[in-house]
């Protein structure tokens, strides 16, 4: 019997989220991939998931999942877990899936491994690769029987598509408990930022404590704008309230893999490196020649970030205009 891996596929504006398709593609390489899709549009999306490796898709096309967070989805997956025993529940690390995973772990006494960058099976034992603390990488497993949950690091896997492949679709016959309709979404606000989103940007310019004060963050944004990229930040300056959480690059925050990453006034704490060291080129500017960021930078300048940044922005504009 192949190992069965369930993937909860999230919908974004009626389409499967890219993060879910990455995980589904990986699941298909590991064994028999089965997808679960909950919410409005599930029925329309379900047949297309075969192209991303799903052999079977469980759906419940009901808007209750869109309007109420976490609990209805946990109930439905919980019911499904009573009928089937997949080897794994493999989930992308997103805001909503994290909340769902935490409750399922407790409700079914499952076991849960977060931040996985890879996984493989040795027979029916899963071996999960988790980077740990910047210097180490560990392999972890579930020593007890039953389904385990693995949350994967964003962008750990690529989307694989085989056009024309189809999946069996099973419509779930479940009723959503009124008691679970508790966490109600009253409104959704999209905040438009100028330039590309951090996750999609091919150039990212990030700032840290070395900028000195919040008023200097615009120097980072100016360079990002000149390069057509996005601005990012370390946890330290997000914690200090200089910029919103959405800017945070790191193990907590966003994992990014741009072509070019600028670390400006960033010493290179492990928590930050974990989120950006997959970048193709890393350029660092820092006053401290011993800053750990220089050990991974392709090009580094020891100097005053506040002096170099505006000069570089001008230089970039000048050379681009030529």
């Amino acid at each position: 019997m192949p190992n069965t891996i369930w993937v909860l596929v999230e919908l974004e504006n009626g389409k499967p989220a890219r993060s879910s398709l990455e995980v589904l593609s990986k699941a298909a390489q590991l064994g028999r991939a089965e997808a679960i899709v909950l919410g409005s549009g599930a029925a329309e999306v379900a047949p297309t998931l075969g192209e991303y490796g799903a052999e079977k898709v469980y759906i419940h096309d009901d808007p209750t999942y869109d309007d109420y967070l976490t609990l209805p989805a946990v109930d439905t997956i919980s019911e499904l877990l009573k009928q089937h025993q997949p080897t794994l529940l493999l989930l992308a690390t997103t805001y909503d899936l994290r909340d769902i995973a935490a409750r399922l772990d407790v409700r079914h006494n499952m076991g849960l491994i977060t931040d996985a960058t890879d996984l493989q099976f040795d027979g029916d034992t899963v071996q999960v690769t988790v980077p740990w603390g910047g210097e180490n990488v560990v392999t972890a497993t579930f020593p007890k029987s039953g389904t385990g949950i693995v949350l994967t690091r964003p962008k750990a896997f690529s989307v694989e598509r085989q056009e024309g492949k189809t999946a069996d679709v099973e419509t779930l016959n479940v009723a959503i408990n009124a008691e679970s309709q508790k966490i109600k979404i009253l409104e959704r606000i999209e905040v438009q930022s100028e330039g590309p989103a951090l996750e999609d940007a091919s150039v990212i310019v990030s700032g840290g404590r070395g900028l000195g004060k919040p008023e200097n963050f615009h120097l980072v944004e100016d360079l990002a704008a000149a390069l057509g990229g996005a601005a990012g930040a370390t946890r330290a300056i997000v914690d200090a309230g200089w910029v919103p959480y959405s800017y945070q690059v790191g193990q907590t925050g966003k994992t990014v893999k741009p072509t070019l990453y600028f670390a400006c006034g960033i010493s290179g704490a492990i928590q930050h490196l974990a989120g950006m060291k997959g970048s193709k080129f890393i350029v660092a500017i820092n006053r401290d020649e011993h800053a750990p960021i220089f050990s991974i930078a392709d090009f580094g300048v020891i100097g005053d970030t506040l002096t170099i940044l505006p000069q570089l922005t001008e230089e970039v504009k000048r050379r681009k205009a030529q």
Binding site: T70, L71, V74, Y95, R98, A102, R103, V106, R107, N109, L112, T114, W132, G133, G134, E135, N136, V137, V138, T139, A140, T141, F142, K144, K182, I183, K184, I185, L186, E187, R188, I189, V191, A197, R235, D239, Y245, S246, Q248, T252, L260, I270, F281, V283, E289, S295, I296, A297, D298, F299, G300, V301, I302, G303, I308, Q311, L312, E314, V316, R319
Partner: protein, 261 residues
């Protein structure tokens, strides 16, 4: 209102490079500087401000950890928390997120909490699974990634950070609310606060006080096991120069060389 904040003592993320002990396969905590999780300082601050705004409310810090965690809890008292409860027991060493949630939830159930705050995730473990676990054990909703919190009667209404903006989300109380880092300003302990902290109620509980069996927690209860610990392949360092007025143009040259402009 009976308000609670779950906190944690961790190796100082600003000075300590976290290491795993190859034998116990646990985080090395001995011989390193331990502090109240900096994320928790923000969460505590948000909870204190809300308590003061609501009035007629009490805020209690709850933690699970070794006896040394008392220091982190004293800091929360110095910041303005009213009392502290520490669960400490040798059997808890090696607990996973599920066990931690089980223990904290047992305390919060006894206390009949109305509103529970947690950081979205700790700065050492990063799993972010404990708050949702507590909520599940208690059978109450969790409101996560809050950047703004309002209490109206028996309802909590929060602004919740999302990938592309935010959502306004409402739920009945009791509930667990997690705080998005960077959304609230931290309060720093004053001298008066530090002195006053010594007189505030501080209780210590063992597993037996909570009716939890040792087999359900710690290493024995863990559902995950580390099989191997390896080294990450280091990324090779490149060229580093000193800025002598040419830093900006040297970077621009580098960008042009690799066609990044």
């Amino acid at each position: 209102m009976k308000m609670y904040v779950c906190i944690k003592q961790i190796p100082d993320p600003n000075t300590v490079v976290s290491k795993l002990d190859p034998n116990t396969r646990r985080l090395v905590c001995s011989g390193v500087s331990l502090v109240l999780d900096p994320g928790d300082e923000v969460t505590i601050s948000a909870a204190i401000k809300l308590r003061d705004a609501l009035g007629n409310s009490e805020l209690t810090a709850v933690s699970m950890g070794p006896a040394s965690a008392q220091e982190a809890m004293r800091r929360s008292l110095a910041m303005g928390v009213d009392r502290a409860i520490l669960v400490t027991d040798p059997a808890l060493a090696g607990s996973d997120a599920l066990s931690t949630a089980r223990v904290l939830a047992a305390v919060l159930k006894k206390e009949e909490a109305d509103l529970i705050f947690c950081s979205t995730e700790s700065t050492d473990g990063y799993t972010g699974m404990v708050p949702g676990g507590i909520a599940e054990f208690l059978g109450i909703p969790q409101l996560t990634f809050a950047r703004e919190i309002n209490i109206e009667g028996q309802k909590a209404i929060i602004k919740r950070v999302t990938q592309t903006g935010y959502q306004t989300v409402e739920s009945p109380l009791p509930a667990v609310v997690t705080i998005a880092s960077g959304s609230f300003e931290a309060i720093y302990p004053t001298m008066k606060g530090i002195m006053g902290a010594k007189k505030k109620p501080f209780s210590q509980l063992a597993l037996s006080d909570l009716g939890i069996d040792a087999s359900e927690v710690g290493e024995a209860g863990a559902h995950e096991r580390i099989i191997t610990i390896g080294k990450v392949e280091a990324r090779a360092a490149g060229q580093v120069i000193k800025d002598e007025g040419n830093g900006a143009s040297a970077i621009a040259d580098f960008l042009q060389r690799y066609q990044l402009l």
